[in-house]
Each structure stands twice: as structure tokens, then as C-alpha cells.
């Protein structure tokens, strides 16, 4: 794997950031992100309990948005990065090259949208400060979550999509793929 220093560095950085993001997924989802006291409604929410609460209150479109932005996208990004890394490592079948490149472009594009939760918490904590009756306090979980999102963005950025194509010249049985 050390044939091209730049190739090696890119893969190492992508893998390292992705792994770090995967580690932080655990506290991001199990440590509360938000403590809110609104009109006597005192609660401490993790991402999941927040989604459940939104759904229970009948705000299911909002619940769906948060669910997709906060759970599906980060997990999808990690899985996608894993696929890209494995493809480079093992050499991708030429027929897969175009979908893999599309996957990379997609991961790059959706990265920032997972920050929705972080913005929501930051916004609420900044705006809702009325002392006793209404107070929103961010909790450590949101930091872990923001780190997950940031790390997946860094991992995507560190990945060089051209690496997908280099093995095509390497010993591979079929070279006349759909391209």
C-alpha cells in the first residue's frame, strides 16, 4: 500500500477520521444532548428520545427529518466511507467505479446537513433563556455528535476519489467494464 505516498496518506486520513467518527457515534447517541425546561416540562433528551418525543407529539414530519439527518445520514456516511475504503484497498470492479464515484460525490454533498441537530441545539440554547420557566441547556452528547459530523466531513474530504480509478491499470482480470 505504500507505493504512492499521497495515496497512502489519503487512505490513512480517511480511515482514521472515519474510525474516530465511529467511536464517537456511541456517546453521541447515548449521552443526552439537551436539557430543556419549557413551561414546567423538564426533560433530558438524547437524540433518540428527542425523535420519539417529536413523533409522540404528532410532529412526525419533523421527527422524520431529525431521524434522517441525525441517525440515517451519519450511519450512511460511515458505511459509505467503509465501502469506498474497502474498494480502494481490494480494487473495485470496473463496473462499480461509476456508482462508487457517485457515492463519493453524494457523501460529500450531504455531509454538512447532519449538523441540523447541532444548529437546533445551539439555536435553542442561545434563544431560550428565560430563567426558571424556560431554559434550554446543551449537554455533552451534542459535542460528541458535532464531532461525529465534523469527522465524517473530514474523512470524506481526505478521500481522493481518483484512488478508486488507479487500480484499473493494476492486475485486474476484466478491463472492458461499462466504464
Amino acid at each position: 500500500m505504500n507505493r504512492h505516498p499521497s495515496r497512502s496518506a489519503s487512505l490513512h486520513r480517511t480511515a482514521a477520521f472515519a474510525l474516530a467518527a465511529a467511536f464517537l457515534m456511541v456517546p453521541a447517541n447515548f449521552v443526552p444532548i439537551l436539557h430543556s425546561e419549557l413551561a414546567g416540562d423538564v426533560r433530558t433528551d438524547t437524540i433518540w428520545t428527542g425523535i420519539v418525543e417529536l413523533y409522540a407529539k404528532g410532529l412526525w414530519p419533523l421527527a422524520a427529518i431529525v431521524f434522517i439527518a441525525s441517525l440515517v445520514i451519519p450511519l450512511f456516511k460511515l458505511a459509505g466511507l467503509g465501502v469506498l475504503l474497502l474498494s480502494v484497498h481490494h480494487g473495485a470492479a470496473p463496473s462499480h467505479l461509476r456508482p462508487l464515484t457517485r457515492l463519493y460525490a453524494f457523501l460529500d454533498a450531504i455531509g454538512r446537513w447532519s449538523m441540523l441537530d447541532v444548529f437546533l441545539v445551539a439555536f435553542l440554547a442561545g434563544v431560550v433563556r428565560f430563567g426558571a420557566p424556560a431554559q434550554v441547556t446543551p449537554l455533552p452528547g451534542i459535542v460528541a455528535f458535532a464531532l461525529v459530523v465534523t469527522l465524517t466531513i473530514l474523512a470524506t474530504r481526505a478521500f481522493d476519489p481518483r484512488l478508486l480509478w488507479t487500480p484499473v491499470t493494476a492486475p485486474h482480470p476484466s478491463t472492458q467494464g461499462s466504464g
Binding site: H12, R13, A16, L24, V31, A39, G40, V42, R43, L147
Partner: protein
């Protein structure tokens, strides 16, 4: 000419510096998780007859004004006779889950004699607890009403029998010379239903005031009498006017009658005889450890001449 230094070729591929990022993430993540779950104490179950006001994930368990746990679940009991509330304690509060712990739900209460739990209008109900002292336990039965303030060590309870209850409630004060020295704890009909039995507790420094020949009368409300020799208005303090109360006096015979033992039963008169109000025995308040540090009035009270209209 010098030749170029020989290149050193390291055989071992070095690990890129970037791998400290996942290492760091692992440490931070683990620390956050440990920090989160380290605070968790045991989960206990409290049975209540009524679960109104209790909300899962919201209602807190409070001791001395500080949140020490949170309700994690509330289910009907299988026989539908009440609700089982599951409470997760904070780690620091784990020792209070011991036999003898008392739990009750605090809701806003505005009654004639008391205003309580006003903060719960905004925050929702909470569960208060007084810690137990026995063996650790996980299953408790909640009280339907707040317990009365627990008597300090050395306090003593007595029983009064009255022909009617009047305005006396649990929590009504007991006065000696209009100084509040105790509380009514409970009341019930006697077994043969011919009288009302009232149980009250005298706080530690004042226990010696109650002698075997002490007389008690109902100090609640006020009475207005018009007789041949004019009108007379009887009332004691504003507090007893509102919430009912009991007053007592001890005859100043010499020697004093012996102190009344726990659970002595006395009669409760409708009102005081004139001469009861003139009794003024010298009774040293027998609580060296208590009276010295947290009460100042009682040490002076028996020495001062009885004040005011009682004379």
C-alpha cells in the same frame, strides 16, 4: 568533495500521525459514556394508589430540594389497584433507598391552613422522599399524604380524647403559653365511637412541660360570649384561629407531678378554666443538647411572667 550522506532506510512503516485522532476519539468517547453512566444509581419501584401528576422521564425524585432521581416508568399494577412507579436514583442518592424511606407526591396545594408545593404548578408534580435507615430496599409503598415533620429524637407523643374534633387537623399546632411546642399528628374515632382520639407530638425541649396532671383545651377558632357581665371574646393566636390548635397548662403544685410517659391519654376540654390560665409552674426544660443549640425561647419562657391576656 564530500559524498552525500547515506540515506537511512527504515524498514518499519511508520504509523501516520493522523491515527491519534481515532485514539483520542476513543478516549473521549469512553470518558463521556463513563461519565454519563457513573451517575446512575439503582432503580427502585414505588407503589402509589394514584399516579396523577407523575410523568415518565419528567417527574423528579427530590430530597431536601435537590433532584436525586427521575421517573423512568409508571405502570398499572396487575390487579389495577394502583400504579407502580419506577425511579432511577442518582448514584449519590443510592443510600436513601433503604427500609423506612417514605415517598409522597407533591402537588400544588392551597387549603385554608396551608399553601404547599406552589413551585409544582410550573414544574409538574414531584416525588419527595425522606430516606430510610434500615436495610437497603428496592420496593416501596408511597404515602398518599405528606408525612408530618418527623419528631426529633427525644420528642414524645400523647393522646387526647375529645367529645368532638372541632377544627383540629393533622398539622395543627400545640401551644404552651402561645408558644408552639408541638403538632397534631392524626385523629380518629375511638373504638367504641364515643369520642375522638387525637394523637399529637411535643418537640424534644418541651417534653417536660407535659405532666400527668396537665390540662388540655381546644384553642382553635374563637368564641364570642355575651353574658350577664358583659361580652367576652376568646381567641389565641392567628395561626390557631386559622388551622385549629390545642393549648395546655400544667398545675403549679409543689412538688410537680411526674412527667407524662409516651402515649399518656388526656382529656381535651372545650375551653380553658380561668384558673388553668394562671398556672405558672417552673419547669426546667430538660434538653441540654437541644435547647442549647437550636432553641432560644424555651430557656427563657418559664422564667418570664406569663404575658398578656391570659393573666
Amino acid at each position: 568533495m564530500n559524498t552525500l550522506p547515506k540515506p537511512r532506510i527504515s524498514r518499519r512503516p511508520t504509523i501516520p500521525l493522523v491515527w491519534v485522532v481515532p485514539l483520542f476519539a476513543l478516549i473521549v468517547g469512553a470518558w463521556m459514556l463513563i461519565n454519563e453512566y457513573r451517575n446512575h444509581g439503582p432503580e427502585i419501584v414505588i407503589d402509589f394508589e394514584d399516579g396523577s401528576g407523575i410523568a415518565v422521564g419528567k417527574t423528579r425524585l427530590v430530597h431536601k430540594g435537590v433532584s436525586v432521581g427521575i421517573v423512568r416508568g409508571a405502570e398499572l399494577k396487575p390487579d389495577l389497584s394502583g400504579v407502580s412507579v419506577r425511579v432511577r436514583l442518582d448514584r449519590s442518592a443510592a443510600p436513601l433507598a433503604a427500609e423506612g424511606a417514605q415517598f409522597w407526591v407533591v402537588q400544588p396545594e392551597i387549603s385554608f391552613g396551608a399553601v404547599r408545593g406552589l413551585d409544582t404548578i410550573l414544574t409538574g408534580a414531584r416525588i419527595n422522599v425522606t430516606p430510610g435507615r434500615g436495610a437497603p430496599a428496592r420496593h416501596f409503598t408511597g404515602l398518599e399524604h405528606p408525612p408530618l415533620p418527623r419528631g426529633r429524637d427525644g420528642s414524645r407523643s400523647f393522646i387526647l380524647s375529645a367529645d368532638r374534633l372541632g377544627s383540629i387537623n393533622p398539622g395543627s399546632p400545640v401551644f404552651y403559653r402561645e408558644v408552639k411546642v408541638g403538632l397534631v399528628e392524626s385523629s380518629r374515632l375511638s373504638d367504641d365511637s364515643t369520642s375522638v382520639l387525637i394523637r399529637f407530638r411535643i418537640e424534644a425541649p418541651y417534653v417536660a412541660l407535659v405532666r400527668t396532671n396537665t390540662r388540655f383545651w381546644n384553642a382553635g377558632g374563637f368564641a364570642f360570649k355575651i353574658g350577664l357581665f358583659g361580652a367576652e371574646l376568646k381567641n389565641t393566636s392567628l395561626e390557631s384561629l386559622v388551622s385549629g390548635g390545642i393549648a395546655f397548662a400544667t398545675p403549679d403544685t409543689l412538688p410537680l407531678a411526674s412527667p407524662a410517659p409516651e402515649n399518656t391519654q388526656f382529656e381535651l376540654s372545650r375551653e380553658a378554666d380561668k384558673d388553668w390560665l394562671t398556672w405558672s409552674p417552673r419547669i426546667p426544660l430538660n434538653s441540654p443538647e437541644q435547647s442549647a443549640k437550636d432553641t432560644k425561647a424555651p430557656t427563657l419562657a418559664p422564667l418570664l411572667p406569663a404575658a398578656g391576656k391570659n393573666e
